[in-house]
Point group: C2
Chain length 141, copies 2
């Protein structure tokens, strides 16, 4: 098993609501691999999938029971602190729930969090210690 | 906000246990950006971070309360059904919890799931409809 994470699937309560959020509020284009049952987005070097939560649990042979903090966060990294401010201001104007206003963080970065329709926490962060490759993916040493 | 997911962070119960699982059981090399407080892995076109769960919740200004199914799954995609079998057999021999034995799926794929130390569900799947790019990342139309 090589050092690779190819796809992340979010189990969602209402696929139509989530599809609309990612496609319209965030402005992402669904992949042609999407259908009425599942939605895929090419999200840079990884694929983000949306799938009904109960079906996702069933696929993994897990109980769908679960509540509260998912324990996992997703992050969008920017090229500057100002870009964090701009993104969050835009999302706030669109009615998106901001979990944490943009602010400097103790480790030297600048970050904010918003929530998707299921409450999954997305961080929008500028990390001066992280670099990007030509594809726009993070490239760590 | 471009169509990009740069980093996924798993909130973990015991950072040393999780670091050992990803670094030794899966054989992944931690990035030089890692420290005693956080671990990062370059996981192809995305970065996987490990961070104590209570600190992750605090960072997002969320309550750490939460239990059961996280609602999010991670996936490693293979080039063949046989590769799924090989990976799962190797992990099983190492004592990893297999949530779902490798099997054909209704949509035409072949998949299995294992659990990491916090119970996060990793799918190992062969999807004949998905292609890879030169970097080994999924590349959807």
């Amino acid at each position: 098993m090589n050092q690779h994470l190819h796809l992340i699937t979010l189990g969602v309560g209402d696929l139509a609501v989530s599809r609309k959020f990612y496609a319209e509020t965030l402005g992402w284009k669904p992949s042609a691999a999407s259908s009425e049952n599942v939605v895929f987005f090419q999200a840079g070097g990884v694929v983000l999938g949306l799938y009904p939560r109960e079906k996702l649990a069933e696929d993994a042979q897990l109980s769908n029971r679960g509540s509260g903090f998912a324990g996992i966060t997703l992050a969008y990294n920017t090229l500057s602190e100002g870009e964090v401010d701009e993104i969050i201001a835009d999302l706030k104007a669109k009615g998106v729930t901001i979990l944490k206003e943009p602010q400097k963080i103790f480790w030297g970065g600048y970050s904010s969090y918003f929530a998707d329709p299921d409450g999954y926490a997305w961080e929008v962060a500028y990390n001066p210690f992280f670099a990007f490759n030509e594809q726009g993916n993070l490239k760590l040493d």
